[in-house]
Symmetry: C2
Subunit: 130 residues, 2 copies
């Protein structure tokens, strides 16, 4: 496996701007200074880096996938108003995992949890997006 400039740029973009960006957001951010960067390259590398465990892929049921430089055990909440993605620590998820395998005999390999709602900031303010 070779390490190209593009791959390094893409990884750093996710690490340095931890906004849980989509592939397109990464692409747009880097495009300005690298006009011939290709969207396919961004997708390919984000997926590769996720498989290698250097990034976490956040799958959102009704939206684009997002990517997270933080790879330890945590979950996400998507605000419907400002559409930001927030980290969420959930001890109950550990209990849930063992509960499911005990009760149903399912061997879990992946848990996709998407919490949607209105975040604290948006709740206390006027709507930012509508």
């Amino acid at each position: 496996m070779k390490f190209s400039k593009q791959r390094e740029m893409i990884l750093n973009q996710v690490l340095n701007y931890p906004i849980h960006p989509t592939a397109d957001q990464v692409y747009t951010a880097l495009k300005t200074d690298n006009p011939n960067l290709s969207l396919g390259t961004v997708y390919r590398n984000l997926n590769l880096l996720s498989e290698m465990g250097m990034l976490m892929k956040i799958r959102i049921a009704d939206g684009s996938d997002r990517f997270d430089g933080r790879t330890d055990d945590h979950y996400h909440m998507v605000c419907e108003r400002c559409s930001k993605v927030y980290d969420v620590e959930l001890d109950t998820m550990k209990a849930l995992k063992s509960c499911v395998s005990d009760k149903y005999g399912h061997a879990l390999t992946e848990i996709t949890l998407t919490l949607k709602g209105v975040c604290a900031a948006c709740t206390s303010c006027t709507p930012q997006t509508e």
Copy 2:
């Protein structure tokens, strides 16, 4: 709101064959006896019936949406081998909901939880799909 034959057929198909079908599965099943049924009609009605609360839409992050005639509080597990969708009762999810709003101040409006893995049947057998 008018109640067309198509809408009734589509609803009954989901209610009578509780396999958590995709829009395309509903379409294919009904198409044989109704050759000029349109896929768009199936999508439109499944979504409408879900909004009306007569069906539950199951959003799967990396696959097609599925529909469930059972609309009470429960979750789903998708088997990676046989790709069936199983109902899962999770008391911990109630705890999770109040936990999230208490701890983060997020008002939750929708929870999409997709459990992936290998179901009990597939675990005890030879792989059915690969």
